[in-house]
């Protein structure tokens, strides 16, 4: 039995997205910037994708900038906002559990003379709204908070945070890294008070190399890639038409029968947790109910290194990830786990992450396998 439980690392590309992409690659391959009809065909794919995505967010299609994925979206939001607004202030706020695609550009900006406040989190990975309120200053130009944490599935209070930011400093921009949240939650940036929001295509059954940044109209942002002036000068480079088409299709599919899909994910998560929570070796990091992300479980197992458990599960056909897979194959220490105080489990934590295609049978098989493997490997704990 092959069970893919690493959907927060990447997902299988949906058939609908794939078919659209094949057409855009082999049939309607025109460059959207070309003046002839072939170019127009390419442009149409982008227009369609824009419309499809805009509907899911209840925003204007013109407020979307297509990028090469989540990392670029985050970089564009943070570097672009900082560059465009540095005259209003040099202060930024973020959290200590962000993905490196946010924390690394923040660090870069610190080197350039900006100051950054890092909000702490509690044992569940939740920020404190009070701390946020105190952190926002008149010279704060950008606040960046992730919607769903990629390692433990903590869901941050985005709407409340937006309110507090606007109360303290109406001109501060709010960026949300929604890479693990889009498709799992109904997100309406305008209603929530978000100016900038990052999304990646391959986390929602779209293709790798696709993504977008939502930029609320009139938001001051500078491009970080310069060239032929595509996408209203905000993101030069010939548009990745097949990628954008696939992304649009995947976004549309993600919000079909949305409630049912979300409920299904919570059922899977609930069943897995219920299956192992009584075992003495199992420690679930973060919250476990509907106040946590529906698709992510962070499981720490006493005494078994995450890589070992990962490969042992792999031998049984179950694919999970060790810590956060996105940060490459280096055994880097997880900042999220450090921040929530899970020091004891820094190198003994695996992440299980679902998608709508997973089934309860797969979850049961995973529970059964864990119950067999863990005691077997615990016999050989390193002393």
């Amino acid at each position: 039995m092959e069970v893919y439980f690493d959907n927060s690392a990447t997902t299988r590309c949906s058939d609908g997205a794939k078919e659209l992409m094949v057409r855009a690659l082999s049939q309607d391959y025109g460059n959207p910037s070309s003046l002839h009809g072939k170019g127009l065909e390419g442009e149409n794919y982008i227009r369609e994708a824009r419309d499809k995505i805009a509907k899911t967010l209840k925003v204007n299609g013109s407020e979307l900038i297509f990028t090469s994925g989540g990392t670029e979206s985050n970089n564009l939001a943070i570097l672009g906002a900082a560059l465009a607004n540095r005259r209003s202030g040099m202060h930024l706020i973020t959290t200590c559990i962000e993905h490196p695609a946010v924390s690394a550009p923040m660090k870069f900006l610190e080197e350039q003379g900006f100051s950054v406040t890092y909000l702490k989190v509690d044992r569940d990975g939740m920020i404190s709204l009070e701390e946020l309120r105190e952190a926002v200053r008149p010279e704060t130009i950008l606040v960046s908070i992730m919607y769903v944490n990629n390692e433990i599935g903590a869901v941050e209070p985005i709407a409340e945070a937006a309110k507090i930011i606007k109360e303290q400093n109406p001109s501060a921009l709010f960026h949300v890294d929604a890479i693990q949240a889009y498709g799992k939650y109904m997100i309406h940036p305008r209603k929530l008070g978000i100016e900038l929001m990052s999304v990646s295509g391959h986390k929602i059954h779209g293709p790798k190399g696709s993504g977008f940044l939502y930029v609320k109209e009139k938001t001051k942002l500078k491009p970080i890639i310069y060239g032929g002036g595509q996408q209203k000068n905000m993101r030069s480079g010939t548009e990745n038409v097949p990628g954008i088409a696939g992304l649009g299709q995947a976004a549309w599919e993600a919000y079909q029968d949305f409630e049912e899909k979300q409920a299904h994910l919570y059922r899977l998560k609930g069943a897995l947790i219920k299956g192992i929570e009584k075992e003495s070796w199992a420690h679930i990091n973060g919250r476990t109910g509907t106040d946590s992300a529906p698709h992510i479980i962070s499981l720490s197992v006493d005494g078994i290194r995450s890589e070992v458990l990962l490969h042992a599960l792999e031998e049984e056909g179950i694919y999970v990830s060790a810590g956060s897979a996105c940060s490459s194959n280096k055994p880097a220490v997880s900042r999220t786990l450090q921040s929530i105080g899970a020091r004891r489990h820094l190198d003994s934590t695996v992440r299980i992450s679902f998608c709508g295609e997973n089934t309860l049978e797969e979850v049961e098989y995973c529970v059964k396998t864990l119950k067999e493997l863990v005691p077997r490997f615990q016999k050989y704990i390193r002393h």
């Binding site: 070992v308 458990l309 490969h311 194959n329 050989y380 390193r382 002393h383």
Partner: protein, 394 residues
Amino acid sequence: MFKAFLIKYGEIGIKGKNRHLFEDALVQQIKYALKPVEGEFLISKEQGRIYIEAAAEFDYDEAMEHLQRVFGIVGICPVVIVEDEGFEHLVQDVISYLDKRYPDKHKTFKVHARRARKNYPMQSMELNASLGEKILEAFPEMKVDVHQPDILVNIEIRGRINIYSEVIPGPGGMPVGTNGKGMLLLSGGIDSPVAGYMIAKRGVKIDAVYFHAPPYTSERAKQKVVDLAKLVAKYAGPIYLKVVNFTDIQMYIYEKCPHEELTIIMRRYMMRIAEHFAEETGSLGMITGESIGQVASQTMQSLAATNEVCTMPVYRPLIGFDKQEIIAVSEKIGTYETSILPFEDCCTIFVAKHPVTKPSLKVIRRSETRLKEKIDEMVQRAIETAETIVAEAE
């Protein structure tokens, strides 16, 4: 401008009656090294010289890069070979050679002519003087310097005439295959590929064995070892790599023996299994990357304890090297970047906090008796289930 190389070899030229064997092996190794290079090459032996002539256009830099990895080669001379059509022609050929090769003529030179064919109408000294004169006429900017010339123009009168002025150093050593075969214990670290390289340099063909411990070591760790074997194969020729599944043995030792002795006992079983394969495939010795005192398992006492289990000689070419010296070689031969990729190998996973550094043979032997119930069967199974991968240079 060059269509041919003249290959100089040192040590193998003095091997008496066996000389032709060494030369044949060198020709074989050159052929193997040039196989991936685009173009067709004719390789010939002639009176203590090996010539490589390209049949058509070829990539000079690529060919040179590959030749510089062939053990046994001391120098590679890009050479122009001309027919003997009289002295006047030779003058023209030499002048045209210098003109093309040295666009900047502000250089000193010396002509060094040799006659392997003694019936050439001019003697060497006479050739030197006359050619020097003609060169000075053609390029007034050039000057003669017989002590330390910038350009040493070599003229070799053989059946045909060789003109060359550069000797690009080769790696030295002896052609692989002229000194038997050895079994390398390849781990995935920095040291063992270097050890393999150094023994191969002495003309030894290399086989290798890697101990894999899934799920404690990943597929990527195994891929890393295969990649390392491929890199060593650039010098040593194709390497037959045995991948042994070592998990059961390791767990069993872990279960039965004191943890601080684990590494030593584990290594003793690795040596036993490696020796089995070495005997089976005709290796005359085993090769490890050990260096005295580098880690607990490489103290004199530990080495004695691991050495005790095999009868075959164990070659440890890095035994007196510091880590920095080993790293320098691994950087030079191009294995360092791969070696430092962060995947665990099976030596590091069960390491005790305080492993023994001065194991007593008596104690280790006694600990091993606790394994007697199942270990032979496990070793047998590990040997039977080993996978063979042929690692060829890419």
